[in-house]
């Protein structure tokens, strides 16, 4: 596809100056006799985006340079926290390309762009900031070709959150990657993998959810019980009900919600008996004044299911 080699640095430089840069230039122009200040560190500032047609032409010029040009552009992205950060422009221009190739009539460029990003997210020579940025762009634009490389990042605490988001956005074919990551992950990555499996309603993870429901970590317990509620398997009813008997008030609020969600899912799936079991349990155990509102929800649901009795 590459037919010419564009000057990437020159194209990047065409992105607009920020408001503060424009103010500084204006001030300098009004005082021509003053010595020019030394170039200063970049300062946080608003900016006005470029003309859309001009931005599109710049994007097309970069894409015409093929993979080599994209890699060169990515190589210009710097971490704002680092000493060699100069400005926003390379990173912003890369995002402009995400928008440009996302259009329906840009399939060929989209393939080139996605494949290039995928090839770079595992590149240890790039700063973590740049790799993280590319992963976040794949949440927008990524497809099946990105999932293997993203999956490898699920056990890296620097990238697991963003990689999980991108995979959950892509959806197709990702569940196995989360299962594999859960088997290997520790700390934050473990929570991310488990919760992602709950988002995906992975039936094959029910064993992990059942195990997680009694984990020593509260966030793992909550993710696991939520996962069970979303799976709506009748076998999980005892575990979810037991989890909702905790004395920890925040956990009790959230696990009670899981009970209600599970009951709704079971009722909607035709498992009326199991739903009645949950509502009956909540009606009978939420008698204390502070939880009466839960009892009333249960009572109303039981009435709808034809299993209610009047609230006394």
């Amino acid at each position: 596809m590459a037919t010419s080699k564009p000057n990437i640095a020159e194209l990047v430089a065409q992105m607009p100056a920020t408001d503060k840069e424009k103010e500084a230039l204006k001030a300098a122009a009004q005082q021509p006799d003053q010595p020019k200040p030394k170039s200063e560190e970049p300062v946080g500032s608003k900016f006005d985006a470029p003309d859309p047609d001009a931005a599109r032409r710049i994007g097309d010029a970069i894409l015409a340079g093929g993979r080599a040009s994209l890699v060169e552009l990515i190589g210009l992205i710097r971490d704002p926290a680092s000493e060699d950060f100069q400005d926003y422009k390379a990173e912003y221009l890369c995002h402009c390309l995400t928008l440009q190739v996302g259009a329906p009539d840009r399939a060929e460029h989209r393939r080139l762009f996605i494949d290039t990003l995928v090839s770079q997210i595992g590149n240890d020579a790039l700063p973590a900031h740049t790799r993280g940025f590319l992963v976040r762009e794949l949440e927008w634009i990524g497809d099946g070709a990105a999932i293997t490389a993203l999956g490898r990042l699920l056990t890296d605490e620097r990238f697991c959150d963003d990689a999980a988001r991108a995979l959950l956005a892509i959806k197709e074919g990702v569940v196995e990657l989360f299962r594999k990551a859960l088997a290997q992950a520790a700390g934050r990555c473990r929570l991310v993998a488990l919760q992602s499996l709950a988002v995906l309603r992975d039936p094959a993870s029910s064993g992990e959810f059942l195990k997680g429901a009694t984990d020593g970590n509260r966030e793992i317990r909550l993710a696991a019980v939520w996962g069970l509620a979303r799976l709506a398997a009748a076998e999980s009813v005892p575990t979810v009900l037991k989890a909702a008997e905790t004395r920890d008030t925040w956990e009790r609020i959230k696990t009670t919600q899981a009970c209600l969600l599970l009951a709704e899912n079971l009722a909607a799936g035709g498992r009326k008996t199991d739903a009645v079991k949950i509502y009956t349990h909540l009606r009978d155990t939420r008698a204390a004044p502070k939880e009466r509102y839960v009892r009333e929800i249960a009572d109303k649901a039981l009435e709808k299911l034809g299993a209610g009795r009047k609230l006394t």
């Binding site: 006005d48 859309p52 963003d162 925040w250 609020i253 009722a267 004044p289 509102y293």
Partner: protein
């Protein structure tokens, strides 16, 4: 064999907890009995998110309850910037500790918008009623989750914007609403234009912002919450957070719900959304909200809604504003129209808390309004014309745009 249509979970939820009319949930303060105060007395209140609009929101809640004959005592305040002064008795830095309290009945939420949905949901799960600042949510899927929770728990939710209450007393607006909801208008030629006043430049985010050390009093991890984790910079906190997609959506999110809620009420759009969204905008930055020109949104019935920033590019000038009137109805339908009942008065938050019937700015209506804002912002962020299915609440034919409408959250947070 006869096939039975399995009821979806949403059907079950709607059926069992139908929008308040037959719902008999009674809050603890009404029940009487040991430990409870009679309805004429005082509820326990909390404010979560004490900067900016927060105190004003709590004040609105107090006045509304007083207007319905209910008192409110502030028992707790919470802010993530209070790590150094939280006593976990009246001052908190973690909203979960506030919601655990059983003496709190009503919560005002004044945090940045990326927390509005989750805290509203958690508060209702904890048995509280909610007055939540606008914009209701940060992305479309959140609003549906809030509306579902309000129904499931029989709680009162009111959005912190009240323009529709004025329209509810305006004869011209009521006539428009009656025409639009009558089912008799064959094709709507109505055009509503909101031009200017959307603070686009004012609430733009920064580029070139170098991360800084987190102030010791700020719980940055909890502040970021469900959003993508980014390094701290003071411009991301305290009002200027509006300039970042991670927490809000620029001036359109800040001012949009104020501007649009009266319009969605008047034009009868509380249960639907636009089907086509077209932007005129430069390429958006991926983190910092920035400039845009206009967005045109069309509904299936022909109604057109335009948001024109008046701050960038050419003005939208395709049509002029146009209302609807009885003359827009076919002659044979005008008598039928006259026989229809007028729109009902809207309930204030206080009246809703007292009666347990939905508030005027309830979760469903507020969600439909803020969805217009989010669709406009998605069109701005992608730079593309979009199609939306308001029944399924998905963007059609543009997977990338749909990913912005339905975003994963950072664990442990989820909808």
């Amino acid at each position: 064999m006869k096939k039975h249509r399995l009821v979806t979970r949403r059907d079950f939820l709607k059926g069992s907890l139908a929008a308040g009319t037959a719902f008999s949930l009674v809050p603890r303060h009404v029940l009487g009995g040991e430990g409870f105060t009679p309805p004429s007395e005082t509820l326990g209140g909390a404010l979560i998110g004490c900067g900016g609009r927060g105190p004003g929101t709590y004040s609105e809640m107090t006045k509304s309850l007083q207007g319905a004959g209910l008192g409110l005592t502030k028992l707790a305040e919470c802010d993530v910037r209070w790590l150094d002064r939280a006593d976990n008795k009246t001052r908190y830095s973690d909203f979960r500790r506030v919601l655990e309290r059983t003496d709190i009945d009503a919560v005002a939420i004044g945090t940045p918008p990326h927390w509005h949905a989750l805290i509203s949901i958690a508060a209702m799960e904890a048995g509280k009623d909610v007055l939540c600042e606008k914009p209701m949510t940060r992305f479309i899927a959140e609003g549906r989750a809030v509306a579902d929770t309000a129904r499931r728990y029989g709680r009162i939710f009111q959005i912190g914007t009240f323009g529709r209450f004025s329209e509810n007393k305006n004869p011209r607006s009521l006539l428009t609403r009656k025409i639009m909801t009558s089912g008799l208008l064959k094709k709507c030629e109505g055009v509503a234009i909101k031009r200017g006043g959307l603070k686009v430049k004012e609430w733009s985010g920064y580029v070139n912002a170098r991360p800084q050390a987190v102030p010791p009093s700020l719980d940055w991890d909890l502040y970021v919450g469900p959003s993508q984790f980014k390094p701290y910079h003071p411009h991301r906190v305290g009002g200027t957070h509006r300039g970042y997609w991670d927490y809000e959506g620029g001036g359109l999110c800040d001012m949009g719900q104020h501007a649009l809620d009266p319009l969605t009420y008047t034009w009868g759009k509380d249960h639907t959304g636009p089907v086509e969204i077209e932007p005129h905008t430069p390429p958006a930055h991926h983190e910092a909200c920035g400039m845009w020109g206009w967005v045109e949104l069309k509904y299936a019935d022909g109604f057109t809604l335009v948001l024109d920033s008046a701050e960038w590019g050419d003005a939208w000038e395709r049509k002029k504003s146009r209302g609807v009137s009885v003359e827009d109805l076919a002659p044979e339908d005008r008598d039928k129209f006259k026989a229809l009942p007028d729109p009902e008065p809207l309930r204030t938050f206080g009246e809703a808390v007292k009666t347990r019937l939905p508030a005027g700015g309830n979760a469903e209506a507020a969600h439909r309004t803020v969805t217009v804002i989010h669709l406009a912002n998605i069109a701005i962020r992608t730079g593309r014309k979009l199609r939306f299915d308001p029944e399924k609440e998905v963007i059609v034919g543009d997977e990338h745009a749909n990913r912005i409408a339905h975003q994963p959250m950072r664990p442990p947070w989820h909808l």
